[in-house]
Amino acid sequence: MVRQQAKDGSRGMGARNRIYASFDDAVRDIPDGATLGFGGFAVVGMPINLYGAVARQGAKNLTCVSNSTRGGATLPADAPDMGQMIRNGQVKKVICAFTAPTRASQRLILSEYVDKGLIEAELVPQGTLAERMRAAGAGIPAFYTPAAVGTELAEGRETRVFNGREYLLEEALPLDYAFIRAYQADASGNLRFRRSQRNFNPIMAMAARVTVVEVEQEILPTGAIDPDDVHTAGVFVHRIIKIPPPPEGWWPQPPGSIVR
């Protein structure tokens, strides 16, 4: 069954109304100024289609959280990613584990905007990034971590010694929306990921008020996934959309098949 309007996206556990007909429907209510998380690591588990929908939707002043702002080399050059949103002028701030190219030869759209002072880039160690979202999803407002102690990223910040070792205080990073990609979903929103597709996706689903999922396989009837085999429970999932086959839907391509 298709629900066209989410009355209260932050709740809505009902199996009957999680399935959306289009990516555009599922992102319609993003307000300006929202904090959005985009899952995926390299292209795997990256919500390519939802990136496109958010770019079309046009919300502005967004804070965008993801591992990096580009999807890697296995996507065509015109595939949607955070770069597209940045070029659209939608992004106020990014929070990522990569905010600069890792090689001198690389170019990052983000860099131009950061250099001009148009976008703020908060660089966060990858494990801290994951843990800050995990904390948000677990009702933990703050925690201490050993990562980044003694580095530029810890300058001027609060540290504390436990058992003789210095740790850095980190606060939770809650999301208004999480956009993720899964392998399977049942109609009640229970998800499964395949292989390294899992990465940040379950964490972001737990950190978000509204979780929107693009799903690779046909959506299964409620209960088709054994309760022991669910990776992300449906209580953390609000909107699911089946990805159409290409060219309508975006899918990662085998390496070597990409003409950029």
């Binding site: 860099s111 392998y183 964490i203």
Partner: protein, 225 residues
Amino acid sequence: MSERAKGLTRQQMCDRLAMQFEDGWIVNLGIGIPTLCSNFDFGDKEIIFHSENGVIGYGPLAAAGTEDLHLVNAGGQHVTLRPGAAIVHHADSFALIRSGRIDVTVLGAYEVAENGDFANWKMAGQQGGGIGGAMDLAACAKHVFVAMEHQTRDGKPRLVERCAIPATARGVVNLVATNLGLFELTSEGLALREIAPGVSVEEVKSATGCNLIIPREVPPVRSVA
């Protein structure tokens, strides 16, 4: 610039570090040169390769045409899985890292200082950086090994007294393999443990930006039998 070509190949540097891995170790390899460690033949040793994106127990790179599009390592390369592999999410993957269960991480670096600091996330003059999981790994792995060229493209030393660019972690590096040799960070300073064939101690010293502890005898870098 001629020093750059001298000495060990990148694979030989990584082979030498991989020799140090012990049976049962959980190993995390950084992007770039360190990934070559997985080409080493570990024989009877069981080595568990872990990747930040939650892959525990990956195997060799996938052959062209056989890639599983759902499976990459931390460098985005399509890999295979070994029997007994397990997938976890990012928070659990870094739980494994922060709880000290990674026996060794091998990372690339721009600079390693004689006090064990190293820098690999931010080039000089750059805004932002590419940290990835390096800060978590460097702060928490039981051993931190570095594989890097001994000098920059401009011929500047990468083994230095103090890091000139922002550090990734302080005082954590244990062992460094460069094209010129194998170096151990000791409480007394940086020690040359093994030297690349065809390279003289004087060459190593002149290419190095800090004091070197040179034992009376420096054996050649051990190579694969």
